[in-house]
Each structure stands twice: as structure tokens, then as C-alpha cells.
């Protein structure tokens, strides 16, 4: 092996600190080789090593571990019934998408899909959470259009439906959009595959696409702040080949049927390095590979490049000795590479040879568990106390509430995302019961089970900015509520924690507080965080993004056809509002206007704090909604979120073009003293229901039995939306005008 002393610039360039380099030298007892240094740099990046976030993420672990053995696999598989389990995970692809939106987003989908079928699960759904700067900026329109196109081109081609998502627009995402992709798969519980290398002598088999020079140091790139050298970073972005991925899905699932595959991991961040060191480290074994056997796109690739390449659509399999050919044949049938490049060793050593010569040799643990962790300083941000103050008296009440409602409906964050989801194939697989736009969450049947699943992804980043702890709690509460609104029981969480540079104490404060909020709510709702991803350094010349801990959540429908949509179905139904029986003791004095979309869109203010969520009341609501769906008592359920009551009601009406008249009782809006607070205040734990009139009394009785209040507030019918409050008609609009504002807000920026 050739090792040498090198100048500090070499490791600093790779993102390692001087102290980390010294630690490497101390661990090895010598200078690392070039290949080893590259391997350390990627594995010790925040992206792979979680060196800054790990201490805080322990908050999730305690609760999750208490469930393992009780049916929850450590791979993050949630049992659906006796036979089947659901695997799901969310991951960010923010930086690649900022630089090369189409490929960045496409490979984000490809990567998370591989995480799913690597567990032996057939991918059945994709969701995504997207955040951009305002559409008024051409660069943001470019990013938005091409991110959507990238997701569509990849997801549609591999035949996995994109069933739900969210899109927010805010100046904090200019220059650093967030692209979080979530994938969901179904696996027979008896056939879950882990990323392990337990058996010495088993073969290390490389399958899938050839290795190219793309994406080298991608994980390092993900672990730094985007600078003005973005254009130069374009070659760091990998290029996706969805056709190859589709073949890989089919071939991998077919290969698993042989029973000869002992372990498997996809080559995502840190490629071959990660897939050799992680499984062996977990299993306490070692591995020896020969890089010249790896199929490459170019003849002269160095072992350094081969070990660090992040070329897409590749997997590493650990195959039972003697059965290599059986497995390889399946991949060859699908026209894919399948090459044995090494063997698992008894001794815990990761040895990399290139044409026989050893170019790296070290215990796998050095790259994984020996990654240093740091407890960073957290200081309350300077802006916080000031921004939480809101003097409502200084906010004028608009003279025309119709105009205010239309402004909210036409704000791209609230407006219909039809322009987005019509570009996604949301029905391939023929399991989608509630497609995008039809319910508060997507609902799918699952072939082979009577049960169905509900899926959502959600986060209000403004809440997290103005109150990180509550924001984290509310993100979980709202995701769970979305699932309950379609009739499902919330079961588990995957999270994608998007924050700025954690080495800044105010950012780390946001992170720690938001994670605490998520952990507390998750534990209370008994919905463990089973998988997730941390994305730091989401900053650009415009500053850090708002703290955005995106919550992906899975719910279970006892019967798939229980699923309830959000839209009013027909004229003559009663409309009810379910809410907490009492205001929380610690409620803000802003009647839901603090941190609201209304305050931002109509008054240009981002102030105040979101109302707290009372977790016991929230859980009672989830149970009530589940009961209503099971007993088939309701025709629609929709929760109040951005834009408050008036926006939610309008969405119910627009879904199937059924008008509505309501009279909003004072107690239903916490006796708000002003009409804008009554209409647009954002209050937690509230849901609008519609039902056949004969069910109203039973629904109200059930709500009371759950400790909640429920009022009949109006009826469906006609072609207008009318809202009365304290004897005044605040809102009176034809559906057509609301639809124009709601459906037109996004397409108007794109000519075709």
C-alpha cells in the first residue's frame, strides 16, 4: 500500500477537519492511502455519518427500540396484517436539485425507491414534499417545472404511482429548494431482506448499471452549504436511468425468490464504500473485493473513483456461496450486469484490491461506528422572541372578506396542485383509491390484504420557524390528522429533517427543538419514527431555509373501501365542524392568526406563534374520525390547515363542485372578536364533516363521547359558498370564481 504525508488542503477540500484527519491517522496507526482517505471523507460526512445529528436523533430511538421485537423490524417495516408488512422511507435530494433540477429530483426518486426494494419490498407508491422560492422569480419557476418533470419522468417510467405530496412556496427556499421524496413498498413479513453480511465465504455480487465517474463525493457535496460555484457542481449530480431501475426492481425481486440472497444494500451515497463497510460492520465480519472486476463505463477508472462513484441503479448483494450462478442468471435475463467482486471474510477487515494490489485495508467499524459525533451548541435564535410578538390591533381588518379568501385560494402554497400531480402517473399499479386532490391523504388498497393504507407527507415550516418545538409537534399531529381524515389509524413516521448549517447555534437550536416536538408527539400518538434522513446545510446567499422537518406518515385502513374523501358529495347533506371542547390553557391570544398563511398573504406579516396542539384532544379526534369512517357515517372529512376554516370549506366545495351555506357559531371559532380571525385563523384539531342528515345526531353523540365538541353548521347544495358569522354574511362567492383562483394560481405562470 502506498501511503504518504499530505498537505492539510487535501483533506480539508474533502470536508474533513484537521482533528478528524488526526483521528484517522491515530486509528490506522499510519497515514491513510488515497483510497482510504476518500472513503473516510464520504463516510464521515454528515450525510452518511450523521455526526452532528446523531446525539439529537437518539430522542427517536428509545421509543422505537421499545417496539422492536413487538413486530416492528429494525429495517423500518411496519406490519400491515399477519402476512404483509409496509416499508417506507423519505430522503432529501435538495442540493442536486438546486443545481440540476431534473436529474437531481429524478435520482432522488430512484434512490429512495432502491431503499425500498432493497428490503425485498415491491415499491407501490411515491410521495414528495417540494419547496421553492416564489414563482415570481424565473429561476424558481425553472427549478419547480424541472423538478416536477424529473420526478414524473422517473416515477412514471418505473411504474410506481406518485400518489400524494405537498408544494410550498416561500422566499426562504430561493436558491435552496427542498426536494424530499418518499417511497412505500409492501413485503411479505417472512421475506424481509436486511443489509447484512453475516456469513463468511458468501459472495459479494455487484448488479445493475456500470460504474461511471458521476457523483464522486456526492455525499460530501450534500454536507456543505451551496456557494456561488453551483454551476461548477453540476457534474457532481448523478444521471438517472429509470429504465435500468425498472429492470433492477423486477430482477431483484425475482432473484430474492431463489432464497440465495442473504443480504443486500443499494449503492446510494458513498456507493461501493458504503455497501461494503456498513453490512460488514453491522455483522462483525469483513470483506475483500477486487475493484478491477467492477463493470465500468470507462476503461481507465481508478480504484479511488470506483470506491466513491455514486452512479445510479446499482446494488450490492451478499449471496450464498455456491449459488452465485443461480442469482446471476436472473439478472442476466433482465439484461443486467451481475458480477462476483469479492467474498465476505471472518475477520473484521475491509480490504480493497485493484489488480491484486491492496489499495485499502481497515476495519469496517472505522468508517461507521468510529465516525466522530459532535454535540453542537444550541442558542435560541435572536429573531425568535421578537417575531413571536404580534399586536393584532395593528393589523387592519380587510373590508371585503371575499377578496381576502380569493387571495388565499390564489396563493400558490394553498392553490390546487393539479398542474403538478397530473404530470404524475398516480394510478399505475391499480391500487390507488384516493388519488391526489381527493382526500387529506392518499389511500391505497393492498393486493393480498383486506386492509388498505393511507399515506401523507406534511410540514408547516412557518410554524417551525416561529416556534420550532410546537412546529415539530404540529407537523406530526397534522400528518396523523390527515390520515385519520381518510379513516385510517396512524401507525408510523418517516421524517426528513431539512435545516441550515448546524454549526450555527441558532440553527442547531431549531433542529433540537423541532426534533423534541416530533419525538414527543410521536411517542404520545404511539407512532414511532421508523426511518428518516437529515439534510443540513440548506443555505444559500439568501440565508438558511426555515426549519422544515417533513413528516411522512403511514396509516392503516381496516378495510380499503373505508377510505373517505375530502369533498362534499351531494346537495342536501349536513355540514358539521368537530373541534376541542375547550380552548387549550396555553392558547395564544391571536385567535389562530399567529404564523398564519392569511397574515402572510394578505398582510405580508410572518409573526406570532402557532396555536399549541393539545395532544390528548388530538388523539381523541383521530379515534373519532376512524370510528366515523368505519361505521360509514360520513361522506367527507377535511381538516383545517393553512387558510383556516374558510379555505378548508372552499376546498370541500370545489372537490366535486357542490356549494355550501354555513353559519359559523361564535364558540366554534373560540369567540374570535374579528371576522378575519373567524374565517382564516389556523386552529389545531378541527375537521369539517359532511353527512346524510339522518346521521347528524349520531355523529354529534359520538363526538361528545370522545370528549369533543361538534356542531351542525350548515348544509351542502347550490353553486355558491356562503359563510355567515354573527349575523353578517362574510363570504358569498360563486364556485366558479373560487375555482378560477384556486385552479389558476400555478398554471398561469406556465404558458403551455
Amino acid at each position: 500500500m502506498t501511503t504518504q504525508r499530505r498537505a492539510p488542503e487535501v483533506w480539508r477540500e474533502m470536508g474533513l477537519t484537521d482533528a478528524e484527519y488526526a483521528r484517522i491517522v491515530a486509528l490506522l496507526g499510519r497515514e491513510p492511502t488515497d483510497v482510504e482517505l476518500g472513503m473516510f471523507a464520504v463516510m464521515w460526512s454528515e450525510h452518511c455519518g450523521y455526526k452532528y445529528s446523531r446525539p439529537v436523533l437518539r430522542l427517536f430511538r428509545k421509543y422505537r427500540e421499545s417496539l422492536e421485537g413487538a413486530g416492528f423490524e429494525n429495517a423500518g417495516v411496519v406490519p400491515l396484517d399477519e402476512q404483509l408488512g409496509v416499508a417506507f422511507k423519505v430522503e432529501s435530494h435538495n442540493h442536486p436539485s438546486a443545481v440540476e433540477p431534473h436529474q437531481g429530483a429524478a435520482t432522488g426518486v430512484g434512490g429512495i425507491i432502491r431503499d425500498i426494494f432493497t428490503m425485498g419490498a415491491r415499491p407501490i407508491a411515491i410521495l414528495n414534499s417540494l419547496r421553492f422560492g416564489p414563482l415570481t422569480e424565473p429561476r424558481n419557476r425553472y427549478l419547480f417545472e424541472h423538478v416536477v418533470e424529473g420526478i414524473a419522468s422517473y416515477g412514471n417510467c418505473i411504474g410506481v404511482p406518485t400518489v400524494a405530496g405537498e408544494v410550498y412556496f416561500h422566499p426562504c427556499y430561493s436558491g435552496n429548494p427542498l426536494v424530499n421524496a418518499m417511497a412505500v413498498g409492501v413485503v411479505p413479513l417472512a421475506r424481509i431482506v436486511s443489509a447484512r453480511a453475516d456469513v463468511p465465504g458468501s459472495a459479494v455480487m455487484y448488479v445493475g448499471a456500470s460504474t461511471g465517474r458521476d457523483g464522486i463525493h456526492g455525499a460530501t457535496f450534500a454536507s456543505e452549504t451551496l456557494g456561488d460555484d453551483q454551476e461548477e457542481k453540476r457534474p457532481n449530480v448523478q444521471i438517472g436511468d429509470p429504465f435500468m431501475e425498472k429492470l433492477l426492481i423486477e430482477a431483484t425481486l425475482e432473484a430474492l425468490e431463489t432464497g440465495a440472497v442473504l443480504g443486500m444494500q443499494d449503492m446510494g451515497a458513498a456507493g461501493l464504500t458504503c455497501t461494503t463497510c456498513e453490512p460488514t460492520s453491522k455483522s462483525g465480519t469483513g470483506v475483500e473485493i477486487e475493484t478491477s472486476l467492477v463493470p465500468t463505463r470507462e476503461a481507465d477508472m481508478t480504484p479511488y473513483e470506483i470506491m466513491l462513484s455514486e452512479s445510479q441503479e446499482r446494488m450490492l448483494l451478499y449471496v450464498q456461496a455456491g449459488r452465485e450462478e443461480e442469482v446471476a442468471q436472473v439478472f442476466r435475463k433482465w439484461g443486467l450486469n451481475a458480477v462476483v467482486i469479492g467474498r465476505v471474510l471472518q475477520e473484521p477487515v475491509l480490504r480493497v484490491r485493484h489488480r491484486g494490489e491492496v489499495v485499502a485495508e481497515l476495519p469496517p467499524d472505522y468508517l461507521t461506528t468510529q465516525c466522530p459525533t459532535y454535540t453542537l451548541q444550541a442558542d435560541e435564535p435572536a429573531y425568535l422572541a421578537e417575531a413571536q410578538r404580534l399586536e393584532l390591533e395593528s393589523v387592519p381588518v380587510p373590508s371585503d372578506m371575499n377578496e381576502a379568501l380569493l387571495a388565499l385560494l390564489g396563493s400558490p402554497t394553498i392553490a390546487s396542485k393539479r398542474w403538478v400531480y397530473e404530470q404524475y402517473d398516480w394510478l399505475v399499479g391499480t391500487q390507488t383509491i384516493l388519488p391526489p386532490g381527493a382526500g387529506d391523504a392518499a389511500a391505497l388498497r393492498v393486493r393480498g390484504s383486506d386492509r388498505g393504507i393511507a399515506l401523507t407527507i406534511d410540514c408547516n415550516a412557518r410554524y417551525c420557524y416561529l416556534h420550532p418545538y410546537r412546529g415539530g409537534q404540529i407537523a406530526v399531529a397534522e400528518a396523523a390528522r390527515n390520515l385519520a381524515c381518510v379513516g385510517a389509524v396512524p401507525r408510523a413516521i418517516t421524517d426528513c429533517l431539512n435545516f441550515g448549517n448546524p454549526q450555527r447555534p441558532e440553527i442547531f437550536y431549531q433542529f433540537e427543538q423541532a426534533v423534541r416536538g416530533i419525538a414527543d408527539a410521536s411517542e404520545f400518538f404511539e407512532t414511532p419514527v421508523v426511518s428518516g434522513n437529515v439534510s443540513f446545510y440548506n443555505e444559500s446567499e439568501f440565508g438558511a431555509v426555515y426549519p422544515t422537518p417533513t413528516i411522512g406518515m403511514l396509516g392503516v385502513l381496516e378495510r380499503a373501501d373505508d377510505a373517505v374523501g375530502m369533498g362534499f358529495r351531494e346537495a342536501g347533506d349536513v355540514v358539521l365542524l368537530v373541534r376541542p371542547a375547550a380552548r387549550p390553557a396555553d392558547a395564544e391570544p391571536h385567535f389562530g392568526l399567529g404564523a398564519s398563511e392569511y397574515l402572510s398573504v394578505v398582510h405580508g406579516l410572518e409573526r406570532g406563534a402557532p396555536d399549541p396542539v393539545d395532544l390528548p384532544t388530538e388523539r381523541a379526534l383521530h379515534r373519532l374520525l376512524h370510528t366515523l369512517a368505519r361505521r360509514r357515517l360520513v361522506r367527507s372529512m377535511h381538516d383545517l390547515s393553512e387558510g383556516g376554516f374558510a379555505v378548508a370549506l372552499t376546498e370541500c366545495a370545489l372537490a366535486h363542485g357542490v356549494g355550501v351555506q354555513v353559519d359559523l357559531p361564535a364558540e366554534a371559532v373560540d369567540h374570535a372578536p374579528r371576522p378575519d380571525a373567524a374565517l382564516f385563523g389556523e386552529r389545531q384539531t378541527r375537521v369539517i364533516l359532511s353527512a346524510a342528515p339522518q346521521h347528524a345526531s349520531e355523529i354529534i353523540a359520538l363526538a361528545r363521547a370522545h370528549g369533543l365538541a361538534c356542531d351542525t353548521i350548515g348544509a351542502t347544495g347550490g353553486e355558491r359558498i356562503q359563510i355567515d358569522w354573527q349575523g353578517a354574511r362574510l363570504i358569498d362567492l360563486p364556485l366558479t370564481r373560487c375555482r378560477e383562483a384556486y385552479e389558476g394560481a400555478i398554471p398561469r405562470w406556465f404558458s403551455t
Binding site: 425498472k246 397530473e422 402517473d425 394510478l427 399499479g429 391499480t430 390507488t432 388498497r445
Partner: protein
């Protein structure tokens, strides 16, 4: 009834077609691998499913038409066997010369996935005889290259022979640009060959076989037995 579903690398509606035919229509169904030449005589229906055959990086269907199974399919069709091409399958049948015309990029240049309405223009084909002439069906589309084009002479011929089997329309059956999701000439959503045993269509009948998924209007189309 025995039906076959062709599987190309990159087909992704093969499983949907398989389940619809097996579970909803009660057929015996086989997958037919693209690289195998097969005698298809025993099949009552062969579906060329949707997807992205061979990735469709060149032009949809342009490579699939050279697959071994396509020779078998040509023989089968020549003997009067029923061949239904859906979405990518329609594109492949056009590329293979089994159907007239071609499918090009949608007029808006975007992939579109949504339920659309189509009108039965010829209720006397083996696929449509369970529908009324002029009946409006609600069936989803999901494609980026669904704009049907052909030359004027072909169009005249299609009209004269009744080979235009489906047209995009409003929920009430009216024709108009607003109801045509991809800019197809003459609002064409599906065409048959002159013998009416080969049908190609962009909307997905296999996705419309159960009310749970929003519509079962496609079911009767698959009842060809």
C-alpha cells in the same frame, strides 16, 4: 377464456392488465416474454400493455417492434387473433405497422394522468359490442406521447371504414378541443385495423374495471369472449 399479456423490459402496466383479466374477468392469464417466439393460437386475447418498453428513450415503441414476440404477434393477428394495445401498446402497434398512424408528443408537452371521457364511435367491433353506439365511458389516461396523427388519406379511410373506435369527448359526449387531452387529430382516442381484430387506444381500460378505482367502464371492453 385464455388471455396473454406481453412483457417487454420496461412494461409497467403488464401486472395491472394481468390482475384485471384474472381477478375481474376471471380469465386464465399468461405473461408472454418479449424475447420468446410463441405460438399464440390458443389465446383469445393478447394485450400489449402500457409502460416504457426498453425505456423508450428513442421513440415510444420504436425498439419494441423488433422484439421476437412481435413476429409471433403478427402471425397471430394475421389469422384474426384479437390484439389490444393500450398506451405504450398502442404506440408499439403503430410502430409495428399493425395499426395506421403514429403517436407523438402531447400538445402541451407534458405527461398527463387524469380520468377522461371517450365516446364509442363504432359499437360493432369485438371490443365494443357490449357498449351502445355513442355511449360515453370514463377511463383514465396516463401518457406523454398520446397525440394521434395520420395523413389526410388515412384519416378519410379510417372515417369511412369506421376504424375510429373511440373519440375524446365531454361528459355529455360533445366533441371539442377542451376535451381532447393531447391534441389528437379528429379527437381520436382509439383506432382499429381494417379487420377490427387489432385495437389500439391511449386510455387504460384495465385501470377502469372496478368502482373502487373510480370506474368500471373499461370492463366490457375486455369481455371479448
Amino acid at each position: 377464456m385464455k388471455a396473454g399479456v406481453i412483457v417487454f423490459p420496461g412494461s409497467n402496466c403488464d401486472r395491472d392488465a394481468y390482475y384485471a383479466l384474472r381477478d375481474e374477468l376471471g380469465y386464465t392469464v399468461d405473461y408472454l416474454w418479449h424475447d420468446d417466439a410463441r405460438d399464440l393460437r390458443n389465446y383469445g386475447l393478447v394485450i400489449v400493455p402500457g409502460g416504457f418498453s426498453y425505456g423508450d428513450y428513442l421513440r415510444p415503441g420504436a425498439i419494441a417492434r423488433f422484439a421476437r414476440i412481435m413476429d409471433s404477434l403478427r402471425d397471430y393477428a394475421a389469422r384474426g387473433g384479437l390484439v389490444l394495445g393500450v398506451c405504450n401498446g398502442f404506440q408499439i402497434l403503430c410502430e409495428a405497422g399493425l395499426l395506421p398512424g403514429a403517436l407523438t408528443r402531447n400538445i402541451g408537452l407534458k405527461f398527463r394522468c387524469m380520468p377522461v371521457h371517450i365516446r364509442v364511435e363504432n359499437a360493432e367491433t369485438p371490443y365494443t359490442r357490449r357498449y351502445r353506439q355513442g355511449e360515453v365511458l370514463r377511463i383514465p389516461i396516463a401518457h406523454g406521447d398520446g397525440r394521434y396523427v395520420c395523413d389526410e388519406a388515412t384519416l378519410q379511410q379510417l372515417r369511412a371504414n369506421g376504424q375510429i373506435v373511440f373519440r375524446y369527448c365531454s361528459p355529455d359526449g360533445a366533441l371539442g378541443e377542451a376535451w381532447n387531452p393531447n391534441g389528437s387529430i379528429d379527437h381520436i382516442a382509439g383506432v382499429a385495423n381494417a379487420q377490427f381484430n387489432v385495437l389500439g387506444m391511449m386510455p387504460h381500460p384495465e385501470r377502469a374495471c372496478e368502482l373502487l378505482l373510480g370506474s368500471d367502464d373499461g370492463r366490457r371492453l375486455l369481455q371479448v369472449g
